[in-house]
């Protein structure tokens, strides 16, 4: 039953730490935490290392005050707080792929103040729209590979990289297939369920996760949700794992049918295309993937992508989430909203902080929905 599958996804998220510890027990292999989705998990899988994404708890990150100035986003402070509180004490290493200025502070504070066996920083280039980014990243990946080999003692051969690529691509392909079921008039999955699917894939062994996805794909065709879909919404943001918000919005008579953020479709939308030079193949994927705005210049390619998604999944409106202090995403809000307006997708902006004041947001979201549902056509 698909219900049980979704329950499993939820369990995996809620007991992410127990899962990772058990995995270590079972396999005797190392677990590495990463902050940004620009970390090439393919290489970690090739080294028999389990990558898990470090995310926050949505509780005020009191303990980070000495290490990160409060003008930086709650995500980076919340992530670090988890480390300082020892929630990730099972990690053997942390790896970060260069993206924004915020997350790197969580990485460096972790490196400096939390005992950890292995740390590695990958200079994922920002100039992804230049032709020179891919060869540069290939070099960086070669360095990463070497340092992993030194650390794990395992020589990473092409066949290992092929396995890493295969595992990641399969998981991505399956999740994209699930997304297809959001296109129908009465989507067979809610936005909350989808969020839990993607989040759990960032916290578990992808092969295990993919098995579950395949089962889900067998179940979905016969699934009917006994809820009226209401308004078809898109959610756009940076990192966004606020499940309570998703549920609350969908309870107001709406369904999220598509998303554009890095705990959603942005994480898995692109595959690694095969190439004799495996590292080049992987580098190409991360340079050409749906970008984080911090790397997306001079052209707004991510905005174009978001517009296409909105059309493909027939969103009637979009909520634009701004994680307070996230400059790269904040800078793009006006161009993004304008672009969506041009294809007749109305938007409403919401600023997220560590705790989301639902009372305030409920009024905004409800009022936004009222403008979309034609309640006022009564007059």
């Amino acid at each position: 039953m698909s219900e049980e599958i979704f329950d499993r996804f939820r369990e995996w998220i809620d007991s992410r730490h127990d899962y990772a510890k058990a995995w270590k027990e079972r396999t005797g292999n190392k677990v590495v935490g990463y902050f940004c989705t620009y970390v090439p998990e393919e290489v970690l899988y090739a080294a028999d290392v389990l990558p898990v994404r470090i995310l926050g708890s949505h509780e005020p990150p009191t303990v980070t005050e000495p290490y990160i100035f409060a003008m930086f986003c709650h995500l980076c402070r919340d992530c670090l707080a988890q480390g300082l509180k020892g929630k990730f004490d099972y990690l053997d290493g942390i790896v970060e792929g260069q993206s924004c200025l915020h997350l790197r502070q969580a990485f460096n504070a972790w490196r400096l103040h939390i005992p950890i066996d292995y740390t590695h920083w990958i200079h994922v280039p920002h100039g992804i729209q230049t032709p020179h980014a891919t060869p540069f990243l290939t070099q960086e990946l070669a360095k990463f590979k070497k340092s992993l080999e030194k650390w794990t003692g395992k020589k990473i051969a092409n066949k290992d990289l092929d396995i890493g690529i295969k595992v990641l691509n399969r998981n991505r392909e399956l999740m994209r297939k699930v997304y297809e079921y959001r296109k129908s008039d009465n989507p067979k999955i809610t936005g909350l369920e989808v969020m839990e699917m993607v989040l759990s894939s960032q916290m578990t062994d992808k092969e295990e996760h993919s098995k579950l996805l395949e089962q889900l794909l067998r179940e979905l065709p016969n699934r009917r949700l006994d809820r009226s879909p209401g308004t078809r919404l898109m959610i756009i943001g940076s990192e966004d794992d606020d499940r309570v918000f998703m549920k609350n919005v969908e309870d107001l008579g709406a369904t999220f049918v598509i998303d554009e953020h890095c705990t959603g479709s942005r994480y898995f939308w692109n595959d690694v295309a095969p190439n004799e030079d495996r590292l080049l193949a992987i580098a190409t994927r991360y340079v050409e993937r749906v970008p984080c705005p911090s790397k997306d210049w001079p052209e707004f390619t991510r905005i174009q992508h978001a517009v296409n998604l909105a059309k493909q999944f027939r969103a009637q409106g979009a909520l634009v989430i701004q994680n307070k202090f996230c400059d790269p995403h904040g800078i793009e809000i006006p161009p993004l909203r304008e672009a969506l307006k041009e294809v007749e997708v109305p938007t409403y902006p919401l600023e997220f902080d560590v705790t989301v004041p639902w009372g305030q947001f409920r009024t905004r979201v409800e009022a936004f929905l009222e403008t979309l549902t034609g309640l006022e056509e009564l007059f």
């Binding site: 305030q360 009024t363 009022a367 403008t371 309640l375 007059f379």
Partner: protein, 296 residues
Amino acid sequence: MKMSETKPQEYWRWPEYRHTVPGKDWHNAKIITAGVDVGSVGSKAVVALDGELYSYSVMRTGGVSEATAVKVMNWALEETGLKLDNLQYVVGTGYGRVNVPFAKRTITEIACHARGAHYIYGPTVRTVLDIGGQDCKAIRCDEKGKVLSFLMNDKCAAGTGRGLEVFADLIGVPIQDLGKVSLSVQEEPPPVSNTCVIFAKAESLALLRQGWPKEKVAAAYHAAMADRIVDLLTRVGVEKDLVTTGGVAKNAGIIERVERLLGIKPLKPNIDPILAGALGAALFAKALYEKEVGLR
């Protein structure tokens, strides 16, 4: 905390009231509906006869909003001989809209304020400014009173009812006189910080300590609040006619300054603008009732 052990007078406490429009008899009405607006600071109830304002009441929202909803509704019905069951359809709105037990459905204060403003001021309304207990709303609407776009600003209580309450206590002027007092200065002083009610309060206190007269401090405070409100309005885009709703709409000190900054004169209300939300809800109630019984 120790700090309020001596409060000679509660300057912030504004009067509660109710009223029945004279010369109307609900027995002749075809459709009797009501709207209840449970706000963060004030709660209002309106009874409408065939979509016309009949009776209303305004009181503070208490610690338990459900009880307040019942209280404010009953008070509006008082003296009219109406009973709760005479109401054919009730709509709840405002922060506490989900806590109106006898309401058939809820509609946000955004839609309700636009609707109410449309009733109070007529079809020329294009921009509605609602200054409520703890948030400001700037709403753009069309000639039918339909919401086109809106912005809310509630992360900061400055320029809102709650902010004014804090300020009334601070300078020791009854809240309903604040606006007048702030306008009694010869020349406008520079505004205090407009970013935050806490800063504004701290700065106002400092000014009092420097020996500024109350009027001048009040002027500086109101000027800052007007700045904030105008920022919000320009973000949503102001189009004539501009009107104001909500309790603070009665504060001339803010409204006249907003007018000066924008160069647009808000229309003067002929009905208490604090009722806009509840009134809009009552009008939605009528429409929804007609839909329900197949009248439209």
